[in-house]
């Protein structure tokens, strides 16, 4: 695939992610913060988000497996996940977190378990999509091109 095609593919892909609600304008904000002094800024922040999210998802799983669930603890983890997903613009993950927190407040175990499943799913989707997008960006850069905005 030639450079122009790659660039077109990236723009289309990225647009679809916004369109489908995977990303919101906060992601755009991050892109705008990236410059020549820090050309990997977005990838770095997103990588931090991946690490953080995986840790939180594990903590959530453990917390919800307990005999007597500590909903405050669960809520604290969801709050963190909601925060970091919001900071990078991972809108669908953030939305599930909002519902998740409501279930925590109600101390609704079933609701929480359902949300955990959902948030895992949304997280894995956005992770895959972002990684694909980064790969495309890398291909463009390696072909000597620049990332279209």
């Amino acid at each position: 695939m030639d450079l122009v095609q790659l660039q077109r593919q990236l723009v289309e892909y990225r647009t679809s992610l916004y369109h489908e609600g995977f990303l919101d304008e906060q992601y755009t904000q991050l892109q705008e913060l990236q410059d020549e002094n820090n050309p990997d800024f977005v990838v770095e922040v997103v990588s931090l988000f991946f690490e953080d999210s995986e840790r939180l998802l594990n903590e959530l799983t453990k917390a919800l497996e307990q005999q007597s669930i500590d909903f405050k603890r669960v809520d604290a983890h969801v709050h963190q996940l909601k925060g970091s997903s919001s900071s990078i613009g991972a809108q669908r993950v953030q939305k599930v977190c909002i519902a998740f927190r409501n279930y925590c407040e109600e101390q609704n175990v079933e609701g929480c378990l359902k949300c955990l499943q959902q948030v895992r799913h949304e997280y894995s989707l956005v992770k895959t999509k972002l990684e694909s997008m980064f790969q495309l960006e890398q291909q463009i850069l390696s072909a000597g091109g620049s990332i279209p905005m």
């Binding site: 904000q29 705008e32 820090n38 922040v45 931090l48 953080d52």
Partner: protein
Amino acid sequence: MEAAAAAVLPSGSSQELHVLAVDDSYVDRKVIEKLLKISSCKVTAVESGARALQFLGLDGEKGSLGFDGLKVNLIMTDYSMPGMTGYELLKKIKRSSAFREIPVVIMSSENILTRIDSCLEEGAEEFLVKPVKLSDVRRLMKDCVLRGETEGNAGRRFDKRKFEDDNHNHTPSLSSSSSSTPSPPSSPSTTAPFEGDVATSELVSSSPPYSSKRAKLHGHD
């Protein structure tokens, strides 16, 4: 008065603002650090209120000099943190004679009126709803500059605050500044690099004049 991300001293030389950012989230620390660096600030990012107090040397006699000798001109802290919350950190800072003049900005993902009120009452300059944007940071920089450029308002602030408090009790709904305050267009993001020594000037830490933004927040015009 030009909007710029630097405090301008009367002598004409510029000084970078040094911001202490406090947030328990790695992601948010990285983002706020970038937002501030892009706005030509020096940044120290720490993960907790305890670390922030440590950096300020609150228990020592150093004044607002951090370990590297740089004065802190602004503190931006997340509200919800384990251990010490941003609110508790704010109180500690405002109750310390050495640091009470440092403007403190609270950041929170939750736009809760009572929370905003309590923070402002404890002396927070502003309450930003997360995720924090570049436009929020630019607006803050402008306010810090205005504050830094006016000397001799030392006595006035406390009077103003009392005035505010009296009126504050009567004001109706208060929304977060980042969403409701119509800010004037901010200056272009390309700011000139700063030369000159990072002097431990008293100017930037002098008592802030009555912030017009505060007036807006309190519904005055």
